[in-house]
């Protein structure tokens, strides 16, 4: 599942800067947080694209900007041939039926005053898809689909556990039969045994409904498990992009290599033998990224040029893109 198939979403040079203003009464612009800085990728029909990176790398902002929940600073998002940035409010709303989102925090993303039935039914009503008896039937069908008892329809979110709430969030995102679902860290607040339940559910739904996922997470092993291809971001930029096995077996970017080696392995034999790449220091602030390559302040193979020139993203193997001046040595 890679090139040759039709892309459902094309993201081109997407930028999202958040302005930093100073001054209590008269605001003046003193800088920008470059949360997403020139990001391009495609998502093919029916695949799962994993988007990984650490805190503040811009992965969540990419997801939100794609749906225009944030207005982008620059760039294009082409969904099924239509440039989302050119749409007016009402056309965008109609388009959003086909693009849904699952949020990280199952506690904050469900209104505590609404019953499960009205939470899951809300998108049906807003988009005028179903009401009355038809809505009720659809909601019950959705509850069943995500493994919850349809009898729960009149209960409130606080009566459910974290994993069950996340199922409610998933049911809501499936209500309108979307083509694309953006899953923004859907499992990171759940316990290990519940994480596996939710991931299995997401995979099942994908098989059954032919969904396309953008799966955003910081947990590399879970992203690798669920994705067909992976994008690795660091400080607002794409560092590497490839098929998941390719990127796992032959990571070409020093950041990806360090990230892979930092993931704990639940096997004492492997864990005690393997050599870790420990990165020095912390992630720089996106308000003040370093000159040249964003990773240059922590890179183990940094050279002079890295601090001066930003590396272009290059295709070093078919379908394998890397933004590093010195990636060839790992080929």
């Amino acid at each position: 599942m890679s090139t040759g198939e039709k892309p459902l979403v094309i993201v081109r040079h997407l930028k999202k800067y958040f302005a930093i203003d100073r001054g209590a009464i008269i605001k003046h612009h003193v800088g920008d947080i470059k949360a997403v800085d020139d990001v391009s990728f495609e998502i093919y029909d029916g695949e799962t694209l994993g988007l990984v990176g650490e805190t503040g790398c811009g992965k969540t902002t990419v997801g939100r900007t794609m749906l225009r929940l944030y207005e982008p600073t620059d760039g294009q998002v082409i969904f099924d041939g239509v440039d989302l940035m050119s749409l007016n409010e009402s056309k965008l709303r109609r388009m959003r039926q086909r693009m849904q989102m699952i949020f990280q925090d199952p506690y904050a993303s469900l209104n505590p005053r609404m019953t499960v039935g009205s939470i899951i039914g809300a998108p049906l009503e807003v988009h005028g898809v179903a009401r009355g008896k038809a809505k009720l039937n659809r909601v019950q069908e959705l509850l069943q689909m995500v493994g919850l008892n349809p009898y729960f329809i009149n209960r409130y979110p606080h009566e459910f556990s974290g994993g069950q709430r996340q199922r409610i969030g998933i049911a809501r995102s499936m209500a309108l039969n979307p083509d694309l679902v953006i899953c923004d860290e859907p499992i990171s607040s759940l316990d290990v045994s519940i994480q596996a339940q939710v991931v299995n559910l997401l995979e099942e739904l994908q098989d059954k409904l032919g969904l396309t996922y953008l799966f955003i997470a910081h947990d590399l092993s879970m992203v690798r498990h669920i994705s067909d291809r992976m994008v690795v971001m660091y400080l607002g930029k794409v560092m590497e992009m490839a098929d998941r096995d390719e990127i796992y077996l032959n990571p070409l970017h020093p950041y990806t290599q360090a990230l892979m080696s930092a993931v704990p392995v639940a096997d004492p034999e492997v864990a005690q033998k393997r050599k870790r790449i420990i990165l020095e220091g912390d992630i720089p602030s996106p308000a003040n990224p370093p000159d040249g390559c964003n990773f240059s302040t922590r890179c183990p193979i940094v050279k002079e040029i890295c601090k001066r020139d930003e590396p272009e993203i290059r295709e070093l193997r078919p379908g394998h893109y890397v933004a590093c001046h010195f990636a060839e040595q790992f080929l």
């Binding site: 316990d191 991931v199 690798r224 080696s261 993931v263 004492p268």
Partner: protein, 331 residues
Amino acid sequence: MSDLIKIKSLTTRFYTEDGVVRAVNGISYTMEEGETLGVVGESGCGKSVHALSIMYLIPSPPGKIEGGEIWFDGRDLLKARERELEKIRGKDIAMVFQDPMTSLNPVFTVGFQIMEVLKLHLKMREAQARDRAEELLRIVGIPDARQRLDDYPHQFSGGMRQRAMIAMALSCNPKLLIADEPTTALDVTIQAQIIELVKRLQEQLGMAVMWITHDLGVVAELARTINVMYAGYIVERGNVMNIYKKTRHPYTLGLMGSLPRLDAAPGTKLVSIPGLPPDLIDLPKGCPFAARCAYRVDQCLEEMPQLEEVDGEQHTVACWRWKQVAGRKEL
């Protein structure tokens, strides 16, 4: 090696308006000097409460340590006076918490907070304490240690705050360091830094470490012995190789299956544990895992199994059916 701490049938409960929460239900084990123990379990399994009980830091009311003995340095901590405990806490037994931002006081400098411990427990003078605090920050790998002493916690990044917490915990050369999910709030590359740091410090200082986590990956690499906890009980305990390679408890097996492995074959399904952990207010009569267990027989619903030794090798398991579980790779 001699025993450092010996815990006998520790029981901790919380008396809440909704009922009695049975958080820790009679757990017993021994830690040797210099040993690394991994305590693994999901939210609400009692792993943190049992550690807080060792420190006698259970908020009371509603909490109450109802029974058991904790032998440390020739005396039972549960019978010690508060004044005696104050001398042990922070000195012989130190603790690092999950969230470094809430465990550091935001209105005092980091240096002040480290020096406070030194002045209190080791009766150091200002200048001496300052030198030692600087040395400690250097040991945990904070650059420009002298200047950073005068920084406030908000001027530190998440990883640096956790390093500062570790510096504080190490200040009196503790015999036992209890680390309660110290890396859960951190990114993987920073987590890798902290794990390396603790490993190095342990080699240098010879202290015992209790590492509490929900992540089977982290302890695979660190620990010599593992306690797996569920619903306030230790359900399996053994050396790290036995726990991972010769798993005997169905819950441990389920936890392992829930984790995606970076080296798994593509398309492998995760083995999730069905259902939810039991409510600690209303624990079932028999084995607390029985409701979710694929190996359940009638006896499991009636009677809680005691920890029994399997295969010699100090591997114990609380399951009626461990002989059936033996050798299985999944549930």
